[in-house]
């Protein structure tokens, strides 16, 4: 059990962060005509769906939504005792020449994002890839940064960030766990 557990964001704060990210996405991309959302499993796909719903509220447009599983692209395949479970990649639309918004719950070392970008590039050739995350906790190990951030949280390397989702996939709470 962790020694302490602090709530960083409650459901209302998460919703406000999603609302802000959605507005920023629309502003930066001048609408969402050419935009697609791709969430990183598991967690990022739920955040991506929340963004899709928010954009639909604002613009009355349904942005295409996909999910990518990066297990096959990880740089540490074979380093765990048991092979990691492989989830499904479901991108039921072409990525060529689209503005792809990659969505993850927590940005940490950047290795997952590197793997996700390789996965995206294997599937198509987007016009650009942007990155939206709910939490940026620092400690990058690769030259990767997020374009849209819900909340920057300074953390120690051994601390953990946990995002709790309800059964419908709505993020309820973000917690910081100290060892």
């Amino acid at each position: 059990m962790p020694a302490t557990c602090t709530t960083l964001l409650n459901n209302e704060a998460i919703r406000r962060a999603i609302t802000r990210i959605s507005h920023q996405l629309l502003e930066k991309n001048k609408g969402c005509d050419n935009m697609v959302l791709v969430g990183i499993r598991t967690g990022g796909d739920h955040i991506a769906r929340m963004i899709q719903q928010k954009i639909a509220e604002i613009e009355q447009i349904e942005v295409p939504l996909g999910a990518v599983d990066v297990t096959m692209y990880r740089d540490d395949v074979g380093s765990t005792r048991d092979p990691r479970p492989v989830g499904k990649t479901e991108i039921p639309f072409k990525l060529d020449k689209r503005n792809v918004v990659l969505v993850d719950e927590v940005l940490f070392t950047g290795r997952t994002i590197r793997a996700a970008m390789d996965a995206i590039m294997d599937i198509g050739r987007p016009a650009n890839i942007q990155l939206a995350v709910l939490i940026d906790r620092g400690h990058r190990e690769l030259p990767i940064r997020a374009d849209y951030v819900g909340r920057n949280v300074p953390t120690a390397a051994l601390e953990k960030i946990e995002v709790e989702f309800d059964p419908s996939g709505e993020a309820q709470e973000v917690r910081l766990l100290k060892p």
């Binding site: 096959m72 092979p83 499904k88 599937i123």
Partner: protein, 311 residues
């Protein structure tokens, strides 16, 4: 998630959880085979040797594609063109391959038990049985299960009729074990010369009347009559007589459930065990089996080599 097997020799030792994990993983890998660029970097630096002591088109190509699409190095050795023809023993051949740091040996062999023999004598390499004599063909069975599950949603409670040369069919045996584990009812049918004793003890229902076996089945799986093995003791008077009593045709197919699927592990003897009307008909899923074969083999290669330690 844990997958406790270092080798894939038999479906008999696979638990329900093992099979569920293999099929779920295969579903995830299937997406790669539908992309324009069918390649992921997952097994970079791994070496897979296909060691085939018997002819094969489907299985060997399928394993080779599975390895290559995951970026492993895949080498094919056909026994006829190797040092086997100079008299090298199976164990020596395999130990030499292992000395070249191979990670997986995929082997087909005419002798039942050969892959198991090898698995006990190699120290590092995983062994996958790609068909051993009349014993087992586990990867064929797993791709069959994947195909059935895609069509029926589940395996639990289904009735699967497997018809043909049961005695010499490694596909029948692997499917019997795996389908029983998953909660399906398995009917085995064929002429009595092709039904070995003791099948009931393995949990199968046994029929010598094909119509009774097909009645209300969810899946009808036809086996190939192995004409190349007929030399050592004939089990059939003539092909024509066999076709008359044991072929699947549009008439007896009507006895199965209306939404039943027709399967065959290939290669087909058209007009012998299956009529072309059925083999090419709406209910056939024969080419889907082949497609799923690549995904299932990708999943197995990943599960055997994607962790650090199997000891």
């Amino acid at each position: 998630m844990s997958f406790a097997h270092k080798h894939i020799i038999s479906t008999k030792v696979l638990s329900r959880a093992d099979i569920d994990l293999i099929l779920t993983t295969a579903q995830s890998f299937k997406e790669i085979n539908q992309r324009d660029i069918k390649k992921v970097p997952t097994l970079r630096g791994k070496t897979i040797i296909n060691l085939f002591y018997e002819n094969s088109t489907r299985t060997r190509t399928s394993f080779e594609l599975a390895g290559k699409r995951m970026s492993a190095d895949t080498i094919n050795i056909a026994a006829a063109s190797s040092s086997v023809s100079k008299g090298e023993t199976l164990e020596d051949t395999a130990k030499n391959i292992e000395a070249m740091d191979a990670d997986v040996i995929v082997m087909r062999h005419p002798a039942s038990g050969a892959p198991d023999y090898l698995a006990h004598r190699l120290s590092r390499c995983s062994v996958i049985n790609a068909g051993d004599g009349a014993h087992e063909h586990p990867t064929q069975s797993l791709l069959d299960l994947m195909t059935i599950k895609e069509h029926k949603g589940t395996l639990e409670g289904l009735t699967v009729a497997i018809i043909g040369d049961i005695a010499r069919s490694r596909v029948a045996r692997s499917n019997l074990y795996a389908l029983k584990t998953m909660g399906a009812t398995v009917r085995l049918a064929g002429p009595s010369t092709m039904l070995p004793p003791g099948l009931e003890e393995l949990g199968a229902e046994v029929y010598t009347d094909i119509n009774a076996a097909i009645k209300d089945a969810d899946v009808v799986m036809m086996l190939r009559i192995q004409l190349e093995r007929e030399g050592g003791g004939k089990l059939l008077p003539t092909k024509r007589e066999y076709a008359q009593f044991f072929a699947l045709n549009p008439e007896n197919m009507k006895l199965a459930k209306p939404d039943a699927i027709v399967m065959h592990p290939g290669p087909l003897n058209r007009g012998v065990e299956i009529s072309s009307y059925v083999a090419d008909g709406k209910q056939n899923v024969i080419l889907e089996q082949v497609e799923n074969g690549v995904a299932v083999r990708m999943a197995l290669l990943y599960l055997l080599t994607g962790g650090s330690d199997k000891e």
